[in-house]
């Protein structure tokens, strides 16, 4: 018979090697690495079962021995790059440590621009995600607050970083699937926006854009946002 019955299954609970038949030709990490490689090189949309199998050097359907559904391949990918997080001995200054965490996450997402799109709380309990979360909590040991609050702090920092980096990368990643360049796209949208603002229907937006002419420094924006978030959780204001 084909695949087992439709039982809920967490990929991490499934053993890598079953007892019986021939030993698998690849390890789960190989599959993840192949998928990550394709996503880094050609974008997330290029990650298809066929392409990943080809990258590994096996038949397309053989992949399903390692990954029951494509969704689980994504889960493998997120966990794999989560393992790139460098964990350190907490410094005792939780604000500094959290900022360092945030910058590392941003760097990670710049290295793997598809990561924000796959960020989901559903994947939050993969092995490397657990390591990462435990590390964040360790960094927050000096903060006097219940664990619930600490979890909310970590979630907020992660959420803010993810949102901001997603915005940073959105137009760039979008361009991959468009038949024209990002500069052309930006120019067209800017021209359209200028036209709308000139209509006078949006006086405050027009004022805002007139006031802050020139390109926005997105990294500085993120930095300010993070500072505000940490302030909001800091008992010493």
């Amino acid at each position: 018979m084909a695949g087992r019955a439709a039982e809920p299954e967490v990929i991490w609970a499934r053993p890598e090697r079953a007892g019986r038949g021939p030993r698998p030709a690849y390890r789960r990490a190989d599959v993840a690495a192949a998928a990550v490689g394709i996503a880094d090189r050609d974008g997330l949309d290029a990650v298809s079962m066929r392409h990943v199998a080809a990258e590994l050097g096996c038949g397309t359907m053989s992949l399903y021995n390692y990954v029951p559904r494509k969704e689980d391949l994504y889960e493998l990918m997120v966990d794999a790059v989560s393992g790139e997080h460098e964990l350190w001995e907490p410094s005792g200054d939780w604000r500094a440590d959290m900022l360092r965490v945030a910058h590392q996450t941003r760097a990670l997402m710049h290295r793997h621009p598809w990561l924000p799109r796959l960020m989901s709380p559903v994947y939050g309990f993969s092995p490397n995600a657990l390591r990462y979360l435990e590390h964040c909590l360790a960094c927050l040991d000096p903060l006097e607050a219940p664990y619930g609050t600490k979890m909310e702090l970590v979630a907020m920092v992660n959420g803010v970083v993810t949102t901001y980096v997603a915005n940073e990368l959105a137009t760039a990643e979008r361009t991959r699937s468009l038949p024209w360049s990002q500069e052309q796209e930006d120019a067209a949208r800017t021209a359209y926006l200028a036209g709308r603002l000139a209509s006078g229907a949006y006086p405050r937006m027009a004022a805002a854009f007139a006031q802050d002419a020139g390109p926005i420094d997105l990294e500085a924006v993120l930095e300010r946002a993070l500072t505000r978030v940490l302030d909001a959780f800091d008992p010493g204001r």
Copy 2:
């Protein structure tokens, strides 16, 4: 000849009705409404050019007269539901107004659970998005701060709401494509997590989960997060 050359094109800059031939059978709003209807009923993945065309009652390829790429269909959808935002006369209390905005956005996303997935700064300049942004800025008139800061505040509130609601909806929306129920999925993941935590490798996480047993009130979490964000922008602390 087929479609025009590969020029960058903003869907909103393209006139609804060209001067020459027969008048179009549908308006852009009809197309958007059809797509939104399908997404609400059957999920975002059910929004295909074929399905939308069938819902409208026209041939698949006729859709391309209204929407040059599927991506633009998404843009139409986001703008259409953005129009559901109720705008009011600012009260003079910018914190109260921003909270009201946030709750309205959350309600909107619960009505259209696919919306968080489509939230992108690229769509941020559609007609209804502009109306919405201008309204937010109007609510912030009492706040003494440069427009740049106000924009960052709006972005942060929107980002937090989007992230939190996306988390709220993630497992539910995910279940749509899985062959088992959400309860089964949750049970499997909880069992796996319990096993990992019992390993002793993640003492702080184990303590956190032991401390906050029981289901989390996600709405209360969002409420706290929003309060913190507003605090962070409030000059009167």
